[in-house]
């Protein structure tokens, strides 16, 4: 709590409007794949691609509306962490696919 005196210079953390927009967008992006799956509206490949696209959009919405990736003073620890996070997410997904490929006979 030592540095509390310096807290005056903080940017504000988004407005009610931006939170509501983010909330609505994230709900819509969740409902679309649910509806598609429940009503079996697409065939398999198209369905998987749509779900993946929705997931990536969801990720972007979370970053901009809730995690305030554009804010923060230097050094940009949030961006550094995000990059490391993306590397690890890539490792998890690509690594899992690579390791589990043997299972496909």
């Amino acid at each position: 709590m030592t540095q509390h005196q310096n807290h005056g210079g903080h940017q504000d953390h988004g407005s009610l409007k931006s939170y509501v927009i983010g909330f609505v967008l994230s709900i819509v992006l969740t409902i679309i794949p649910l509806v598609l799956v429940m009503n079996q509206m697409l065939e398999k490949t198209a369905l998987v691609i749509t779900i993946l696209v929705m997931a990536i959009l969801q990720f972007v919405v979370q970053l901009f509306f809730f995690m305030h990736i554009r804010e923060g003073e230097k050094p940009r620890y949030n961006v550094q962490t995000l990059i490391l996070g993306l590397v690890i997410v890539f490792t998890i997904i690509a690594g899992s696919i690579w390791i589990m490929m043997f299972n496909k006979y």
């Binding site: 709590m1 490391l84 690890i88 490792t91 690594g95 390791i99 589990m100």
Partner: protein, 656 residues
């Protein structure tokens, strides 16, 4: 009615084993004793105000330490029961099911409820003091982390008297951990105990990253930060990336069990192998999460007790960070024998061996720090010196296991068991013990008795080698892990008996340490200077035990071993006294919400464990209400007036 209650109780409580009845009795007696003492001496209010609601990082650290020592006892008793069974395999001391439950709880408790909290205890006790801060970045969250861990651990430990213990191995592999093969609440206890304490671990990781990046004293650039704090940063980075993987994996397993999903089932498109793949993505970083802070402790201890600056500071930092990143690229070596492609195996074998490089750099740096140093063999240094050869052998057998074709021979044999106990006991436990001995005077104001400590040290060390060296040989002789019995014609009895003797020696070592602590409370050498080891970093510049606000004046850091440089300057007469300017100190207020909210989490866990959804709903509502209440609390901090700071410092013998 009476019949219903009897019926319920006979499945709800674990029955039939005399060991369990003994445990029941001792639990009830301990609880009664605690309640009696607290009531008799009117300590309930004190307990609530000073400990249960505290947000002081030092007190939270002490609570972590106590909890982890209790868990070390529980996990240790599990280990001794297993060793007894294996020494006399045909005495039917433990039955197969009981043995399965015990090796499961031993593993889970030792990693998640002993090593992790002992590590968080050291984080809490040391990091803010070492970087010149007055608390962690989020003191409330810190208290919440502790209580989540504690109630998660209690939920898990409850399983052996209520409902039945998990018995599908410490990582609960499906399909064995699925409903078909493990009906009943055991696996649910495992899932929810880890899940609840895992939230706490993740929050602690975030807390310490922010603390280290944002709250260092003025002048302490990252390149002047002590190595233990660097190791905490490295470990916390691994925590925030690894623990979400664990949470998701276990959540998926829970959905399989609770909601009939098919993520890891044998049918319906599920794939149990995917669980191994995911859990080791957490599991491998996890072992580095616990060992890296031990490396940090050794770096502090070696420099202090060799009376030299650490050799190769920059390469130490580089190695810590390299280990943190590389740890995420080695997970598949835990299941080479699963049968994936040769190129996958080659990649993960090489990435595993690569880890040996930064680790080797660190070992050489410790040795070079000792080279031509004036070494004093105090307890922390003893454990450090014991660590180096032990970890070296553990690391070498690790590289042997990384050689994939050979691993097909070693896999899941006692060779593996001996290897990971050697790195986890020789690295993690020895490291944390060194750290506890080293920082104990700062927390409590007295040293732990040297003589009893040495008895403990030698029992631990000799016991360790007697226990685990035979297990390497047993592995080569074909003994596989998780056997509860074996035939007389195998020729394993002698070595198993030797191993059991070693395990009991380590148990005696632990008893010596408990004796040492209780003895030292009265007779330990008091630390009146605040710097009992003539050490190098900022935490030793303040009185022992540290006042609740840590630093009366936030220090201005100029050197990487700042306190050592200050002492040198004072000795040379080049030290310039800076005028002391006291200001009111801004501190966080205590809060009861962390323990209450964690209790509601406990209800969620307990409800889902027995499939009582109503109880989980009550828990969720309670958690939400706690978050709501906390969101609208504005009176969360206060200022300590200058007069009080001056009085406190004077009572500790420092005039400002």
């Amino acid at each position: 009615m009476w019949e219903d209650i009897k019926d319920f109780a006979s499945t709800f409580f674990v029955t039939g084993d005399p060991l369990i009845y003994g445990a029941d009795v001792s639990i009830v007696l301990t609880m009664l004793a605690i309640v009696f003492v607290l009531t008799k001496y009117k300590k309930w209010g004190w307990l609530w105000r000073e400990w249960l609601t505290t947000v002081d990082h030092k007190r939270i650290g002490i609570m972590y330490l106590i909890a982890s020592l209790l868990m070390l006892f529980r996990g240790g008793v599990d280990a001794l029961l297993m060793r007894l069974q294996l020494a006399f395999p045909n005495l039917e001391f433990l039955h197969a099911d009981h043995y399965n439950a015990i090796f499961t709880t031993h593993g889970t408790i030792m990693i998640l409820f002993m090593a992790m909290p002992m590590m968080f205890g050291l984080f809490n006790m040391v990091v803010p003091l070492q970087i010149g801060a007055r608390d962690v970045a989020y003191p409330f969250l810190n208290a919440l982390s502790f209580w989540l861990f504690f109630l998660g651990a209690m939920l898990f430990n409850l399983s052996f008297v209520i409902g039945g213990s998990p018995d599908a191995g410490w990582l609960s592999y499906p399909p064995l951990s699925q409903n078909d093969f493990s009906p009943g609440p055991g696996q649910n206890f495992w899932i929810w105990g880890i899940q609840i304490s895992g939230i706490g671990s993740l929050a602690t990781g975030i807390n310490f990253i922010v603390t280290i990046l944002k709250m260092r004293a003025p002048g302490m650039t990252l390149s002047k930060m002590p190595l233990f704090s660097w190791s905490v940063l490295s470990s916390s980075i691994m925590i925030i990336f690894a623990f979400p993987i664990l949470t998701i994996t276990i959540a998926l397993l829970f959905l399989d069990r609770f909601a009939g999903a098919h993520f890891f089932t044998m049918d319906g498109g599920g794939n149990p192998m995917m669980y191994l793949n995911l859990i080791w993505m957490w599991g491998h970083p996890e072992v580095y999460i616990v060992v890296v802070p031990a490396f940090g402790i050794f770096s502090e201890v070696v420099a202090t007790f060799s009376r030299k600056r650490i050799f190769g500071y920059k390469s130490m930092v580089w190695a810590l960070m390299a280990i943190a990143i590389a740890s995420f690229f080695t997970w598949a070596h835990h299941f080479f024998t699963m049968g994936t492609s040769a190129s996958v195996i080659a990649f993960f074998a090489i990435s595993t061996m690569v880890i040996a490089i930064p680790t080797g750099v660190k070992v050489f740096n410790w040795l070079f720090t000792m080279f031509r140093g004036r070494i004093s063999f105090k307890q922390p240094m003893l454990w450090t010196i014991a660590f180096i050869p032990c970890f070296l052998v553990g690391g070498a057998t690790g590289v042997m296991l990384a050689v994939a074709p050979a691993d097909y021979q070693y896999h899941n044999s006692y060779f593996l068991i001996a290897h990971f106990h050697q790195v986890l006991i020789g690295g993690v436990v020895f490291g944390y013990l060194a750290g506890i001995y080293y920082w104990w005077p700062k927390l409590f104001g007295f040293k732990l008795d040297e003589k009893l400590g040495r008895w403990g040290f030698w029992f631990w060390n000799i016991g360790f080698y007697i226990c685990f060296m035979p297990q390497y040989a047993l592995g080569f002789m074909g003994m596989t892990r998780r056997y509860y019995t074996y035939g007389w014609d195998r020729g394993w009895e002698d070595l198993n008996l030797v191993s059991t003797v070693g395990a009991f020696m380590m148990g005696i070592g632990f008893i010596f340490q408990v004796w040492q602590i209780t003895y030292s409370i009265k007779h330990g050498e008091r630390d009146t200077t605040g710097d009992p080891w003539d050490a190098r970093t900022l935490e030793w510049s303040i009185p022992s035990p540290a006042p609740f606000y840590n630093f009366a004046v936030v220090p201005n850091v100029k050197d990487s071993d700042d306190w050592w440089a200050t002492k040198q300057a004072k000795a040379n007469g080049t030290y310039k006294e800076e005028p002391v300017h006291l200001e009111p100190i801004h501190m966080p207020k205590n809060s009861g919400i962390p323990i209450i909210m964690s209790t509601f989490w406990f209800l969620i866990g307990f409800g889902f464990t027995f499939g009582w959804v109503w109880m989980a709903v009550v828990g969720f509502i309670g958690v939400a209400v706690c978050m709501w209440v906390r969101s609208f609390q504005y009176d969360t901090d206060y200022y300590v007036p200058v007069d009080e700071v001056r009085r406190t410092e004077a009572s500790l013998g420092r005039v400002l």
